[in-house]
Symmetry: C2
Subunit: 468 residues, 2 copies
């Protein structure tokens, strides 16, 4: 992590950027295929409820059905936020006008700055941002999406990317491409999104500002971070200490190899620094470290839906023996353990289960198990004081498993007493049941590995919180 | 691996079991919900072209529209294979009748044998199998599925499990539940299935017989194995030496932890043995070791579709910078490396790419890249003598990526010169393009980690083959 030689900066209020009442789009145009068109289209498509002001120096009065202006200075109303998508060389001028117009924050989506060596041009933007005390996101970014506020600066074609539902996960990505693909995946990932931010070159608003803002944001339960490097190392650590005590921060640090760090530098001009140094800081301050984008989604899901637990004794209930074996391996590989059930639990299970079921962990309740058998097993095992969390493997390919099994698990999950994860995988019939469970807040994983990794992440974070 | 104290056995011809001209179903019934009903239904649903003989001691002459018999001895025609799903205690009698009727092979799906301690009852089946030289699969198994022969002994409800298409991957699973879920996943996994076998307690036909049979099977290009333990260790090693030189054998050995091994024993009475011993044997004899079921599918896909390559220099082409950084990390974490492009390749790329594209590995061709840019990059880079394989990251969320990009990659893939893998992830728009590419033999992965792991598996196996 690079140490900071920059003076401590004022706390940037990002509210006007995430939740503006009025938005100006600089570079808006009627021409399809242009970034300024895609951004306008997005604001129209998502049904932004505030005022929208397209600005284009060549306008003849109207853009996409909205009254348009040649300069933001021509707008009489107050403007909270401006999205800038004009050519790089024109950005300083229009951004200065934003400052004069008392805009409260800008998002510069235009590229052509430090990422291609144009650091002086980028410095001009920094100077303007400071001069007017007007926070800037970017340049070279996708900007922000706030699902509640229906605020969306992304310039990706709407038919190419599914929209996430409203939820408690906020996702921060230095990379636009990792941001957009992950957003698209989140739409089908079993949890909802609060805020999204792609911050590109981080010339003004950077990791420190964003982490601080989201850690105090009441709509954000979980922060998920894709990062290539941190510019203000000391401040980041300071902010992180508080943030990770308030909510889980899941982080993937790209550039974990020397070659990867080189690629990161070429990408967003990030000083990737030593991965070991980053990793040590992340561990020390309770970050939840994700190895790849699959981990990001898997971990976000369990943190968004399940209560914290500090014990590592994971009970396994399965209607397929082989997956019980794989679950056992995955549990122990991830530093977790199977519980020793009490004699009482064993007696209850012995009575409730048919004689073909052997009462032991993992509990294989048989390929003919129906919802009643799942419920009996869930009741008995979740009440056992030696059980900290549950992994329930529901294979819908078996004769006994149907809608009612999904309902039984949803019923248990609604109590939110001990964390539960479900493992379920397959084709169309199974997918329809996975969707029902995930819509009811049950995190479903497609492998016992992913489920065990996610439980280990949850428990690791809970233990960090507990030792503080 | 447990060493064998059993005399060497005769080679079991499994052809009549996989590709029978006539099948008897013992325990067939008109009653829905019964296993014997589900099996009959399956044979009717898949359109088995041979003769079908339902056998049930209580029949009144017809079952599910087919002439039925009280005993297999009442059938005048020759029967190649019998599927037995009568209660455990009745199995020896009906199986003996199969022997008398000169049936060429039996599949005993019934449970209630060694897996619940009834070893003597199981021994009776072994004796009968030997007496008539009639190979037996099972007991306590799902049996076989042969997509070409439309032969399917599975008793899972057909609406719950999607059917795979015809292909070159044969899948062997000791566990019925791992077998059925994986089958269901294969249906949407971008490769086709040749034969499937769930062999349960492995009382007669075991890992050794199956591996030997499939290694010589012309319809099988890739063997994929889920295994809990091997009973005849020395014979297995002998067969494996030949098998892995003929085709890739991807294997997952459940019970890689002490607790997991205990669970495996409880599940199929397998002597799981020391995982380290297994792993050493697998490594020595060129098996492709999978860590979990995700690996199984990922590795099967690359082996089924791509040529072998022994070099580990992986060129990355991406239309998203962040994923290029992640790909670089994944490549180095998996013992692979980025290539050093020749000056000639760099010159060609410099001419073909816009000035905003930096010519280096990973090659980030930009979020606005269209199919022409992908094609130019693919042509130049795949011709470079320093490139052994390609990872192409196509993010369909970007403005430039569309159907034509998928077509460009399919066009390159059709040449089958150097291995190529694609990384693509997202929602509905992206999924439709993934399907098109996978149907044309391009292996698509949802993360750079999975893609790099699969390339490492391909290269590791190719090197084993090359050193022999």
């Amino acid at each position: 992590m690079s140490s900071s030689h920059e003076a401590k900066r004022k706390y940037a209020d990002l509210d006007p950027i995430f939740n503006p009442k009025s938005v100006a789009i600089l570079g808006a145009t009627d021409k399809p295929g242009k970034v300024g068109h895609a951004i306008m289209q997005n604001y129209i498509d998502v049904g932004f409820s505030g005022s929208l002001y397209p600005i284009n120096i060549n306008t003849t009065g109207s853009i996409m059905g909205h009254e348009a202006y040649r300069s933001i200075l021509d707008v009489k109303a107050k403007i909270d936020m401006a999205v800038i998508s004009v050519p790089a060389l024109a950005v300083p001028k229009v951004m200065d006008e934003c400052g004069k117009a008392h805009v409260k924050g800008v998002v510069v989506v235009s590229g052509g700055f430090a990422e291609i060596g144009e650091t002086k041009l980028q410095d001009k933007l920094v100077t303007i941002s400071r001069k007017y005390n007007m926070p800037m996101i970017g340049p070279n970014c996708l900007g922000v999406m706030d699902i509640r506020a229906r605020n969306d600066t992304l310039f990706l074609p709407t038919f190419k990317i599914d929209k996430p539902k409203i939820g408690g996960v906020s996702f921060v990505s230095q990379s636009g491409s990792v941001g957009s693909t992950t957003l698209d995946l989140i739409s089908g990932a079993g949890f909802g999104l609060s805020r999204f931010i792609s911050y590109g070159n981080a010339a003004v608003v950077d990791e420190v500002d964003i982490l601080k803002y989201l850690s105090h944001d009441i709509h954000t339960q979980v922060i998920v971070f894709y990062m290539e490097g941190v510019k203000r190392g000391e401040e980041f650590v300071e902010v992180a200490k508080t943030a990770t005590m308030l909510k889980p921060v899941v982080i993937i640090k790209a550039g974990s190899t020397e070659a990867g760090a080189g690629a990161a530098h070429s990408h967003t001009a990030s000083l990737a620094g030593s991965y070991e140094a980053y990793d040590a800081v992340f561990r020390q301050y309770g970050f939840v470290r994700a190895a790849d984008t699959d981990d990001l989604l898997d971990f976000a899901k369990i943190f968004d839906t399940q209560p914290l637990a500090t014990g590592n004794r994971i009970a396994v209930i399965t209607n397929g023996g082989g997956h019980g074996v794989l679950a056992t391996d995955a549990i122990y590989h991830n530093g977790l353990t199977l519980p020793q059930l009490t004699k009482k639990t064993e007696r209850i299970l012995r009575k409730a289960m048919p004689p073909t079921v052997t009462i032991r962990m993992p509990l294989d309740i048989g390929g003919d198990a129906d919802s009643a058998r799942f419920e009996n097993a869930l009741d008995a095992i979740s009440s056992d004081p030696g059980v900290d969390a549950l992994m329930v493997i529901t294979l819908f390919q078996t004769p006994g498993a149907d809608d009612k099994v999904a309902e039984s698990i949803i019923g248990y999950g609604a109590k939110r007493e001990k964390p539960v994860v479900v493992v379920s995988m397959g084709g169309s019939y199974t997918k329809s049941h996975i969707e029902v469970m995930e819509n009811s807040g049950i995190p479903v994983y497609s492998s016992t590995t992913a489920a065990a990794r996610s439980l280990a992440a949850l428990i690791g974070y809970a233990r960090y919180r507990n030792t503080k």
